[in-house]
């Protein structure tokens, strides 16, 4: 036996010992490919999903046409994934950001003195733009497939709410760098709220926490952006995904 074969065998044994050990078996439930003795069988393929937290998202089996990339283009999944990326990068940004007069300086410092600060900020910002775009494309995909028709009418309603929440998240985040771009874009948007019939002035006052965009507005938008809207959108996403499954999985084929 060559040295190489012997090394191979030793490694395989060690790997089996580790994967079959108490630690790994306690983490991964039966059927997981990470456990010892996983073989590719229809039964195990079912277990991978069934004995997994992912079972909350995915059924064990899906329609064959639905897994063709060209059907959904994975747009709904990517909307969700972008939301996850934005949550992770957003939490990271929160370590370096204070929603006060210091906001602008914090962003400057983040970009110049903190490792990967610029990259993470860029990812958060472009990711947000991308999410608006991807959600919009997802909506267009759904429309062109007529996937909003019975029994999926209500999931479309939830979808429109998700689009609205995505825009609101984007819009509230836009103010946070506290630069000229931020304050004036939000001023344009906030002024529009002033045109709401009858209660326009009150709505605008509530939005700005005053008559115009100030640091009070900044704090308000910050709380909405990092806490309130994410909380709400997660709830609606949960219902959205749940309905996709309850409505019989993905629509189609056409």
């Amino acid at each position: 036996m060559s040295l190489r074969d012997r090394l191979k065998e030793t490694r395989a044994k060690a790997s089996d010992g580790f994967r079959g050990g108490k630690l790994m078996s306690s983490i991964f439930r039966p059927g997981s490919p990470f456990r010892k003795g996983y073989v590719d069988s229809p039964r195990n393929r079912s277990y991978v999903v069934m004995n997994n937290v992912l079972y909350h998202l995915h059924p064990v089996k899906v329609k064959r046409h639905g897994v063709r990339l060209s059907y959904t283009l994975c747009l709904g999944g990517l909307s969700f994934f972008l939301f996850i990326v934005l949550t992770i990068t957003g939490i990271w940004l929160m370590f370096y950001f204070r929603p006060t007069e210091l906001a602008y300086v914090d962003i400057q410092n983040l970009q110049t003195t903190i490792a990967f600060g610029s990259l993470v900020r860029n990812m958060h910002r472009w990711g947000a733009h991308l999410m608006v775009l991807v959600v919009f494309l997802h909506m267009s995909r759904v429309f062109y497939h007529g996937a909003y028709k019975a029994p999926r009418e209500f999931n479309w309603v939830i979808g429109v709410i998700l689009l609205l929440l995505t825009l609101l998240l984007s819009f509230t985040g836009y103010l946070l760098p506290w630069d000229q771009l931020a304050i004036w874009a939000v001023t344009v948007g906030g002024n529009m709220a002033g045109y709401v019939p009858v209660v326009g002035a009150q709505v605008k006052f509530g939005l700005f926490a005053g008559l115009e965009a100030t640091t009070a507005t900044l704090l308000r938008f910050y709380v909405l952006h990092v806490l309130f809207f994410p909380f709400i959108i997660v709830i609606f996403m949960a219902v959205h995904f749940w309905r996709v499954r309850k409505d019989g999985g993905i629509s189609g084929p056409l």
Partner: protein
């Protein structure tokens, strides 16, 4: 045979007696193992079948000529059957023979049609008494009726989860690449006293901002976004009552959305690229781009 109630035994004995043409007492005795079971040989029946056609074949000739001679047939028929029975199934002979005669008689009596119908009326097991009858015909089908045709499905793992994983990795790579080459804008610190000209909203609201320059803000800024953009759009599945999903059968809806996309896209592009100071029309290739958000900060490092 220990625990079977007497009345049930009695009933099955009666049935057996009737079927075999024996007495009830005999049947009961047989069932209790006190007497040898009555055996009905199959052979006599075969013989009978073989022989029946013969008289039948003989009969037609006279039968066809005159009804009267046909009446004679029963006698030979009875003759042919009876000996056979005696030979092979002693116990049941008389009874079966009697039946035979009774049955054959009407057939033989039948005038001309008897000839034509003869093949159809051949009784292939004339001696077997039917002891069961047809109550109903139950069609073979599953107890649980599936609501629909089964759908062609595949395992989520790996057929869905792997492509999802690839899409997710590709998106991550794209986002990191974008963030590495495209610096997010950061202008001067916010200053409420200095109004930039033009002041533009984020790109996804620029179509609206563009509409705002045509119409009254109450209409373009409030009514259109909330009533059309939100309420009607949410209600859309309830408005579109056409159940078809194939594009060729919902041309209007497809056209409607495509026009919407084209309109929104045009307004947004105008808002992003073709509007400058004072919201006046500019040409980006002449006057430059008046949009700070996306474009001016490309740097390669």
């Amino acid at each position: 045979m220990v625990d079977i109630p007497e009345h049930l035994l009695q009933r099955s004995a009666e049935a057996r007696a009737k079927a075999l043409g024996i007495s009830v007492e005999q049947a009961m005795a047989e069932m209790k193992g006190q007497s040898d079971p009555t055996i009905i040989s199959k052979e006599p029946e075969v013989k009978v079948i073989d022989e029946t056609p013969a008289p039948a074949a003989e009969t037609p000739a006279p039968a066809a000529e005159t009804p009267a001679p046909a009446a004679e047939t029963p006698a030979p028929a009875a003759e042919t059957v009876t000996p056979v029975k005696e030979e092979h199934a002693a116990e049941t002979t008389e009874k079966v023979a009697a039946v035979k005669i009774e049955e054959k008689a009407p057939v033989a009596k039948t005038p001309p049609p008897a000839k034509a119908d003869a093949p159809d009326e051949v009784d292939f097991a004339p001696d077997v008494k039917v002891t069961q009858r047809l109550l109903t015909v139950v069609k073979a089908k599953p107890i649980q009726k599936p609501a629909k045709e089964p759908i062609d499905k595949v395992n989520t793992w790996p057929h869905l989860m792997l492509p999802e994983f690839v899409a997710l990795m590709a998106m991550t790579a794209f986002l990191i690449f974008l963030s590495a080459i495209l610096q997010a804008p950061l202008l001067e610190e916010a200053n409420p006293n200095v109004t930039p000209n033009p002041a533009k909203a984020p790109w996804y609201f620029l179509g609206l901002q563009e509409m705002l320059s045509y119409w009254d803000p109450q209409i373009a800024g409030v009514m259109i976004p909330t009533v059309v953009g939100l309420i009607l759009w949410m209600a859309f599945p309830y408005i579109d009552r056409n159940p078809e999903t194939h594009p060729s059968k919902r041309k209007f809806a497809i056209m409607f959305y495509t026009f919407f996309l084209a309109g929104a896209g045009t307004l947004t592009i105008i808002g992003v690229l073709f509007r400058g100071p004072g919201w006046n029309w500019v040409y980006p290739w002449i006057d430059g781009i008046w949009f700070d958000d996306l474009l001016d900060w490309i740097h390669f490092e």
